[in-house]
């Protein structure tokens, strides 16, 4: 067990192998980048309360020490000035990451074995992740690019945006906020997106094999795919569309209570491919 107490800007090279990363911060910015080299931790700012960095049994942990108190949000409010820290961590790509910041932002990039990312109030940025990934906030947006594998995004008030995704399973939930997804959905995809008062825009491959269900209570539905069953007799909007694209092996379920839903088609580009 190696432990450091960090109370000022510092660079810590980690000599031991790291397979898991566990970060628990109260306030500030957290950056985690996967790479080829060994792990290292760079602290560029610490508030009055120090950070504890430790490595034990392959688990690298970085945390603000404090007694567990409930509810969290009151403590970040009182503690935000005392605890504010900026931390950047490089870990091997195969590291499993569990990242929590109560108030602030998390950037996670190039992790291949999954990550659990949670921010109470702030924003989450994901780039090039693979495996089982979950991004959860109470308030704030999730912006994700190039995610593969299995992605869950949840926020109460905030936007969810997913670009360049090859994930087979995408679940996105927000209460008030738009959802925008551009999916290179592989066969057998499972995509579920729901919002209460936001707009949902999804673009899928034009040669998708999906059974589709689009629903909105008081919004409009726009679809680039003909042949989905539409009730056109309803004069002021199309509320519920179901149908099958291709073989219908995957599922796409999109629902918004008061927002519009649009399903767009992406031409399949054969020019670039492995």
């Amino acid at each position: 067990m190696t432990r450091w107490t960090v109370d000022g800007p510092q660079r810590l090279p980690i000599d031991e192998p790291v397979t898991r990363l566990d970060v628990n911060m109260i306030s500030g910015r957290l950056n985690v980048v996967g790479g080829d080299g060994p792990a290292r931790v760079e602290v560029t700012r610490v508030g009055r309360k120090p950070l504890t960095v430790g490595v034990e049994g392959g688990v690298l942990s970085v945390r603000h020490e404090r007694k567990p108190r409930w509810p969290d949000f009151m403590w970040w409010w009182f503690g935000r000035n005392r605890y504010g820290a900026d931390v950047s961590i490089a870990v091997p790509r195969s590291t499993i990451a569990d990242l929590r910041v109560i108030d602030g932002s998390i950037v996670a990039s190039d992790l291949r074995a999954g990550a659990e990312v949670s921010v109470t109030s702030g924003r989450i940025t994901l780039l090039g992740l693979d495996g089982r990934v979950s991004a959860k906030l109470i308030s704030g947006p999730v912006e994700a690019v190039g995610v593969n594998g299995d992605l869950t995004m949840e926020t109460i008030s905030g936007e969810l945006t997913l670009a360049d995704s090859t994930a087979a399973r995408v679940h996105g939930t927000t209460v008030s906020g738009a959802i925008t997804c551009d999916l290179d959905n592989p066969a057998g995809s499972d995509i579920r997106l729901s919002t209460t008062s936001g707009q949902i825009t999804v673009r899928i491959r034009e040669d998708s094999d999906l059974s589709v269900h689009l629903h909105t209570t008081s919004g409009r539905i726009t679809s680039a795919f003909a042949g989905l069953t539409v009730d056109r007799s309803v004069p002021w909007g199309l509320k519920d569309i179901r149908g099958q694209l291709g073989l219908g092996t995957g599922r796409l379920y999109v629902t918004s209570t008061s927002g519009s839903v649009s399903l767009l088609a992406r031409p399949v580009d054969d020019e670039v491919g492995p």
Binding site: V33, T125, F225
Partner: protein, 197 residues
């Protein structure tokens, strides 16, 4: 990250990658992506025009192999690389610095992601407008369902690839494993050819 590649430096770096051996465009994109920890993945639209220009200038040539263009550096290209070796060394150290400064890197990542997200939203907003103008009269873009037997085969193929992807996911594959997988594919294919003839 694009800042590192200003003023024709991407072109120089492409030459450098090709000097290490012939590669096709997709490989070049993957190599660049790896070099930048997945942060900078130039699109095909960025790479191919540059390769074409390099080819027009006689610095690279291409050969078609397996339906893909494989690019190779020419002697003129090597000469160009030698003449600009100082510039290349500077570029390499810039790349290293940009990847080593973690906080700066994270900033770049955030900018990059924010940019992509903004572009995507704009693009999809336009596409939505376009689509709603066209209404539901757009032509179906997929094929009519095939005959039941063919449908079943197709479905099995989809299940097969889905299962394979699940197996591949999260596994680090080395050279021997790739060989083994290829062998398994070849065997299966031979058998299928025999059955379906």
């Amino acid at each position: 990250m694009t800042a590192v590649f200003s003023h024709g430096r991407l072109r120089l770096y492409l030459l450098k990658l090709l000097a290490e051996g012939p590669k096709h465009g997709y490989e070049l994109i993957r190599l660049l992506e790896n070099r930048f920890l997945g942060l900078y993945a130039p699109s095909a639209g960025t790479i191919y025009p540059r390769l074409q220009r390099l080819e027009a200038e006689g610095l690279v040539t291409h050969a078609a192999a397996g339906g893909r263009k494989v690019y190779e550096i020419t002697e003129a290209g090597r000469a160009e690389l030698r003449a600009r070796s100082a510039e290349l060394a500077e570029l390499e150290s810039d790349i290293r610095a940009s990847v080593e400064d973690l906080a700066g890197l994270a900033n770049e990542i955030q900018q990059e992601v924010r940019g992509s997200v903004r572009d995507l939203k704009r693009e999809l907003r336009e596409a939505t407008k376009e689509t709603s103008r066209g209404g539901f009269t757009a032509r179906p873009r997929w094929e009519a369902p095939a005959a039941p037997a063919a449908d079943l085969l197709e479905r099995q193929l989809v299940e097969f690839t889905t299962e394979l992807r699940r197996l591949f996911r999260g596994v680090t594959v080395d050279e021997t494993a790739v060989q083994a997988v290829r062998h398994a594919f070849d065997t299966a294919l031979t058998e299928l050819r025999r059955v379906l003839r």
